[in-house]
């Protein structure tokens, strides 16, 4: 092919890609298109093979110290299970009271969402463009379903390419989570700043201090209320009106091994954006 034709080919390819980029830009992070889905379906099995292989190698390498470690871990887990069962009994009582109150007031309690486990096959949480790919198997997964771990919120599903799904982490540049200070119920928006997670739009008169737990507020139509997001690390004035609040995430993304997808369907698009028609 002559250089002139190659030059034209370059222009055509670049224009097509810029069009694809432009179509995504207004809804950055909400994305996912057919080509991305197809490519992910081709590449994800390779990353899954690596995940399985490295898991197997770690298992063999730890074999020599496994028994001693397992005995200690067993003892610790028994104690934790006992404590959790106690909490569960108390929470069941609270749930029964809540249902009774809801029934008396004729109020329908919103569903919390059943968690479905998903294995992580690829995670890049440190680089500038962060992502997580999970293996969901045969189960149905929808875009915008919340993804959590035992310790707290991980992100949401942005692309479904069965049997895999791509997850936008809450530390992603384009992610935003409706959140609130657990102690005071003061609401704000958690996003990714230059130095990590930040809680934005808290006015200077708000009562907030380091150590406060931040949980999801449930008002963004995606994440149910009450999932831990992080802990307030520092509070500084950003300007005359608002604070600059840095958070320590509830999740250590470097130690994530398995996540759970909540099956609660998200709010329908017209209700999330009423003015969009």
């Amino acid at each position: 092919m002559s250089e002139r034709r190659t030059g034209w080919l370059l222009v055509v390819v670049l224009v097509c890609q810029l069009v694809i980029l432009s179509l995504q830009a207004p809804a950055a992070g909400a994305g996912g298109n057919f080509l991305e889905s197809v490519v992910l379906r081709v590449l994800a099995p390779l990353t899954r093979a690596v995940a399985l292989a490295t898991g197997g190698v770690s298992w063999v390498a730890e074999g020599f110290t496994r028994q001693r470690r397992l005995v200690a871990e067993n003892r610790e887990l028994r104690a934790r299970v006992e404590a959790l069962e106690l909490d569960l009994t108390q929470l069941r009582g609270v749930e029964a009271d809540l249902e009774q109150l809801a029934s008396d007031l004729d109020y329908q309690v919103p569903p919390g969402g059943r968690p479905r486990p998903a294995d992580i096959v690829y995670i890049d949480h440190a680089s500038w463009l962060r992502t997580l790919v999970v293996y969901v198997g045969d189960g149905a997964v929808e875009r915008n379903q919340p993804v959590v771990a035992a310790a707290g919120l991980v992100g949401r599903v942005v692309l479904v390419a069965p049997p895999y799904a791509k997850v936008q982490l809450i530390t992603d540049r384009t992610a935003a989570v409706g959140a609130m200070i657990e102690r005071t119920r003061r609401q704000g928006v958690v996003g990714s700043g230059a130095d990590g997670l930040e809680l934005d739009y808290l006015p200077r008169q708000a009562d907030v201090r380091p150590g406060d737990r931040v949980i999801t507020s449930g008002i963004d139509g995606i994440y149910p209320r009450g999932i831990p997001v992080g802990t307030v690390a520092s509070v500084e004035p950003a300007d005359e009106l608002f604070y600059r609040i840095r958070l320590d995430p509830a999740i250590d993304f470097g130690l994530l091994d398995r996540v759970y997808i909540l099956s609660r369907p998200p709010l329908p698009e017209p209700l999330r954006h009423p003015g969009a028609g």
Binding site: Q17, S22, S127, L129, T131
Partner: protein, 171 residues
Amino acid sequence: MRVTRFLAALALVVLAHALGLRLIPGFSQAVDLFLVLVVLNALNGNSATALLGGLAVGVAQDALTGGLFGLYGCADTIIGYGAARASQRLVIERATGVLPLAAVASVVQQAIVVGLATVMLPDPHLPAPIWLAVRAATSGLLGVIAYSAAGWWRNSSDRRRRRRRDRLQMD
């Protein structure tokens, strides 16, 4: 045959990248194996195949990264074409000649990705400059290693073929 070899190389890069991330969480900040493949594919000077190769590699890299789909597709397409045009004008006889080409390609690629992200995303929080420099250096080094390894593999394949031919002729 050439396409098969390229796709096999891409699969190998994906495996190595995934393995690297498993072992070192910050692997993708410091190392870009996809770019090394784009540059090596462009060294034969054919700008059409280099451009298309860059597109394929960029699309694969986009599928495995967050943010907008197409950032690396755009960047690697330009890098593939640019590297091929540079190869037409430069004579790269030694592996060390690949180092500056891959390092410059890395800097240009990151400039394109950052530029596009700045335009397309609200408040993109750009990567720290130190990592741009580290990536350029590692890309250069890996390019040298991969070029040397490819050359060694080609030479040993040729030797094996010659030996087989000589044996057949003797028989």
